[in-house]
């Protein structure tokens, strides 16, 4: 009998097979790339099928695996929540694996790719296992497999100092987070058994335990801290814009698209499934962190010149939007409003899926640009739409989706989030009634800034003329990279046009977590109409918006072209100015200048101009040097002090190390005496 669980296990075995193949094939790198990435694509496809199946039928299956420590076997469980995340991981994993076949070939001749292939497979397997784990041990082991594999992937081009620094920072933040998660699980496991016995380590035991309120709060906030560090929630986001850009682009797509989502999975799992019973202010705290991430993330993104760094900061924004949905859902759930809670949760999870698709697409697009031009700095690119028509069109779809423009998918999830905000008036607390709408305004600001940010990203990279000093030979990327991006683009469009189908499918998740059913009201008018609560309240129809626009555009186009007026091509007019050069175009820095000026107090901006004047005629300026540095305030306020303190402590502790054997023997002696005295 085939069951979803069998499919997921099969996918793990396929990855194992891929890993076994690696030493056999490492001689022929080309064959290695094709075979291993095809196998990971198959594995992802199996997981995707299993995930869709589980969520559709609302299946819950648990298994005990005879692995692990004696008497403490591993537990695995497949339920709608893990099924949903398996779908997300499987879908993007498949697209990126197809894309990788072409992308990784670009490294052949420069460096061996064996390590990339191995850790890529391990990374995928780690993510599959994280969402399948049903006990604290197995969860943390999978979590560490995922973290370690991604560390090595960030380190792939390890001759660059930048990469080593980013990987180290990532490792530090990931482990501080892992410690917090470990402590949180420890607390919950302890409470489940009354701190006697080891059986509390399974999630099932935690699910049936009742936690004292203060311990529950400590456990929740430890877990939230730990997962927030992985997800890149402000102020724990600093590793993200360092690590994502330096990793190979297919890995950045996976890290941004789905690794951050495993942290979202952790938050949802711990909150709604393990703790279950929580006061409303937890949700408000999550909401506030979400809003801060959304706004600051996109503002930082807007200030970047590096395309991949821009995308990484925009992930911070999108994680914020997801957390807004989850925070609202927690608040509604705490006030026992299951339908609204389901609406907000669906909005958050839908954005999770959407973000995986469009951010995966955008990172793959950035990888294609990097592959073709070897340039990550937007200030040196431009006009790629003429050389790379496919990549630019697909990248544009990603930009439209992430900017929340109809009829693409980003719009649907943000629209649902706005609806959840608007319905907060149903809450019985006046304070929340007053404050939550202000959150909606912040979300609107973030969404509008995102549109600006992606006008900049697309406009500077693909439009205009080439800005660089060198003119490299730029070519369109090969079929596998285009297929990978194309599938993600189609997913973006379909998720935007058929949200009702998706919401009906996702119903099992909200039924399981908040016992609220959305499909009855959301799909009441068939697949064409999305009506979150009632059609009088709000409705949206993606297909009609798409058809309407396409219809009007084509009618107008045909009408105007019936007369066959010709188009003359001529040089730029530009108000009659002559001798326009590509260096005169607006750059990424120039584009974001108004925002830097208006909201500059949120950054640490250092702007300098140095003029070199003519030696004789002082009035004439020969050369002008302009330098600009924009940094997070948080780095100076939060991280620098912590780093300083730890170095200071390290120096103090270092004094103990005299380098003389006698001194060390005295230390051991004193320790033994102390232990004997204290632990009689």
């Amino acid at each position: 009998m085939i069951s979803p669980f069998i499919l997921t296990s099969a996918s793990l075995f396929v990855i194992l097979l891929a890993l076994i193949l690696v030493p056999l094939l490492s001689r022929s790198q080309r064959l290695l790339i094709v075979s291993v990435f095809s196998l990971t694509a198959v594995a992802s496809l199996l997981t995707l099928t299993a995930g869709i199946w589980t969520v559709r039928d609302g299946i819950t299956e648990s298994y005990i695996i005879l692995l692990g420590l004696p008497d403490l076997p591993f537990h695995m469980r497949l339920d709608p929540l893990s099924g949903f995340f398996l779908t997300v991981i499987g879908a993007l994993g498949f697209m990126v694996s197809v894309y990788s076949i072409g992308y990784v070939k670009g490294f052949i001749g420069h460096r061996p790719v064996t390590s990339l292939v191995v850790f890529y497979s391990l990374f995928l397997a780690g993510m599959f296992m994280v969402v399948l784990a049903d006990d604290a041990f197995f969860f943390l082991i999978s979590w560490e497999v995922m973290a370690a594999a991604s560390y090595f992937l960030v380190m792939f081009e390890d001759e660059k100092t930048e990469n080593r620094r980013a990987a180290f920072l990532y490792l530090v933040v990931a482990h501080i987070g892992a410690i917090a998660i470990l402590l949180s699980f420890g607390l919950m496991a302890g409470s489940a058994t009354g701190f006697e016995g080891f059986n509390g380590y399974t999630f099932d035991a935690m699910r049936h335990a009742t936690f004292p309120p203060h311990w529950a709060a400590v456990a929740f906030f430890l877990a939230f801290f730990g997962f927030a560090a992985k997800a890149g929630v402000v102020p724990l986001h600093v590793w993200l814009p360092e690590a994502h850009p330096v990793a190979p682009s297919n890995v950045s797509a996976l890290m941004s698209g789905i690794m951050l989502k495993t942290a979202i999975y952790g938050i949802v799992r711990v909150t709604f499934d393990l703790i279950r019973d929580f006061p409303w202010w937890w949700g408000t705290v999550v909401l506030i962190f979400g809003l801060a991430s959304a706004l600051l993330g996109i503002l930082y993104a807007l200030q970047q010149q590096d395309l991949k760094k821009l995308l990484a900061y925009s992930s911070v924004e999108n994680i914020g939007i997801i957390l807004i949905g989850i925070g609202l859902s927690m608040t509604f759930a705490a006030f026992h409003n299951p339908v609204l809670s389901a609406l907000a949760l669906t909005a958050g999870l839908y954005h999770t899926l959407n973000h995986a698709m469009f951010k995966g697409l955008l990172f793959m697009g950035a990888g294609a640009v990097l592959h073709a031009t070897h340039e990550r700095n937007m200030e040196e690119t431009g006009g790629l739409i003429h050389k790379m028509p496919w990549t630019s069109a697909l990248f544009l779809i990603g930009c439209l989706s992430i900017s929340a423009l109809p009829p693409f998918n980003g719009f649907v999830s943000e629209w649902l989030t706005f609806q959840a905000f608007l319905l907060s008036t149903a809450l019985p607390s006046t304070l929340l009634n007053l404050l939550i709408p202000l959150g909606a305004a912040l979300l609107a600001l973030a969404a509008a800034l995102a549109a600006m940010c992606f006008v900049k990203a697309f406009g500077v990279t693909f439009l205009g003329q080439w800005r660089g000093r060198h003119h490299p030979h730029i070519h369109e990327v090969d079929w596998s990279m285009r297929t990978g991006m194309g599938m993600a683009a189609i997913a973006c469009l379909c998720l935007g046009i058929f949200p009702t189908v998706m919401i009906n499918w996702m119903d099992a998740v909200s039924v399981m977590l908040v016992r609220g059913k959305l499909s009855e009201s959301a799909g009441a008018f068939g697949w064409l109409w999305l009506t979150p609560l009632s059609h009088e309240r709000a409705s949206y129809s993606g297909p009609i918006v798409l058809l309407g626009i396409v219809g009007v555009v084509s009618v107008v186009f045909l009408l105007l072209h019936a007369r066959r007026r010709t188009i003359h091509r001529g040089p730029l007019w530009d108000c009659g100015f002559e001798k326009i050069t590509p260096r005169m175009q607006y750059t990424a820095t120039a584009f974001s200048m108004p925002i830097r000026r208006v909201l500059g107090f949120l950054f640490h901006v250092r702007e300098r101009q140095e003029a070199k004047r003519h030696p004789v005629h002082k009035a004439f300026i020969e050369r002008l040097r302009y330098s600009l540095r924009v940094r997070d305030h948080l780095w100076d306020w939060l991280y620098q002090p912590v780093a300083d303190v730890s170095f200071w402590v390290a120096r103090r502790v270092g004094r103990l190390q005299q380098g003389r054997i006698q001194v060390y023997l005295i230390y051991s002696f004193v320790t033994i005496i102390l232990l004997l005295v204290l632990l009689r």
Binding site: L422, V455, L463, W529, R537, A538, I544, V545, V552, V553
Partner: protein
């Protein structure tokens, strides 16, 4: 029967939008001429301008891509679709449920997104400047717009436009402080979104002050005609949106054809007044420096927030 009738109404409304938008712009220009003591070209001058542009050939920059050529059609399409959603004459529109007011804002955002891309497409400094400024102003206007919409939807308990119109139209004719504040915010946002004085000047081609004109500088022929027409429709639609959300009295109800001529008369009167009000604002104020616009939009946000607070405090 009523199904067919409502589809017919939808068609009539789109035709009304296409034909009345240039007249509304012409009316605004005429009133401005009167106030400034100039002779007018008549309210039908925009028609002549559009016809002239439609008959002209296109000169396209050498490195313009398909985005540049596609944008005019898309901007036009978005404006027509928006016109099919907003209740102009009647609330009984089959397409009105396609998108609520948030989706409507997003529809305008999409047109703006492509216009900004087109501004950057040919690679001139003015185009980039216009795009950057337009997106900045739009992103600051968006929260204020949403707060104003939020306040109206709090009163009407819906974001669906025809529902909002019906609830407010059926309400008692009393001064609600929340709606008054929201209206004030909406007027300020309309000035910013449609590129009027004091935020932008639609008639200027002075290089350093232009925003919207900067982006469409390279357009000519039918492309320019489509963009200009869409711009007129946008102004018309914002006026109609304001009328529909704040002064809906007189709009035709579902299945009631007899009130349609009355509704048209009401609409014309209201639009005439709205246009005159716009001219009063435009001639009374000078264009702002770009970096004063955030303060202007900040005050719009403040008014909208006050409107929402007064809803919770007073109503």
């Amino acid at each position: 029967m009523s199904e067919i009738l409502s589809y017919l109404l939808e068609g009539v409304q789109i035709l009304l939008l296409l034909s009345a938008a240039p007249v509304f712009t012409g009316w605004v220009r005429t009133v401005r001429c009167w106030l400034q003591g100039r002779t007018t070209a008549g309210i039908f001058q925009p028609y002549r301008d559009l016809t002239k542009l439609f008959y002209k050939d296109i000169v396209l920059a050498e490195n313009a891509s398909w985005i540049f050529r596609f944008t005019p059609y898309l901007v036009f399409g978005a404006a027509v679709l928006a016109g099919a959603i907003i209740p102009i004459l009647s609330v009984d529109l089959p397409l009105s449920t396609t998108a609520d007011v948030i989706a409507l804002v997003a529809l305008f955002a999409m047109a703006r997104f492509f216009t900004a891309l087109a501004g950057m497409d040919v690679g001139t400094a003015f185009g980039g400047m216009g795009s950057s400024r337009e997106m900045t102003i739009a992103s600051l206007a968006e929260p204020a717009m949403l707060m104003a919409v939020f306040t109206v939807s709090l009163v009407s308990k819906s974001t669906s436009l025809s529902q909002m119109v019906q609830v407010i139209g059926h309400g008692q004719l009393i001064l609600r402080p929340s709606l008054a504040f929201a209206l004030l915010a909406f007027v300020l946002i309309t000035l910013a979104e449609t590129g009027r004085v004091p935020v932008d000047n639609p008639v200027t081609h002075l290089e350093l002050t232009m925003i919207h004109e900067g982006m469409i500088l390279e357009y000519s022929g039918r492309h320019l005609a489509l963009i200009e027409w869409a711009g007129m429709m946008k102004l018309f639609l914002f006026a109609v949106l304001g009328i529909a959300s704040f002064f809906p009295w007189g709009i035709a109800e579902a299945g009631n054809l007899i009130t349609l001529p009355m509704a048209l008369l009401f609409l014309m009167t209201k639009l005439g007044l709205a246009g005159a009000g716009l001219v009063l604002i435009e001639t009374g104020l000078a264009k702002m420096r770009l970096f004063r616009v955030p303060e202007f939009l900040g005050s719009a946000f403040l008014f909208a927030t006050l409107g929402m607070l007064s809803y919770f405090m007073l109503e």
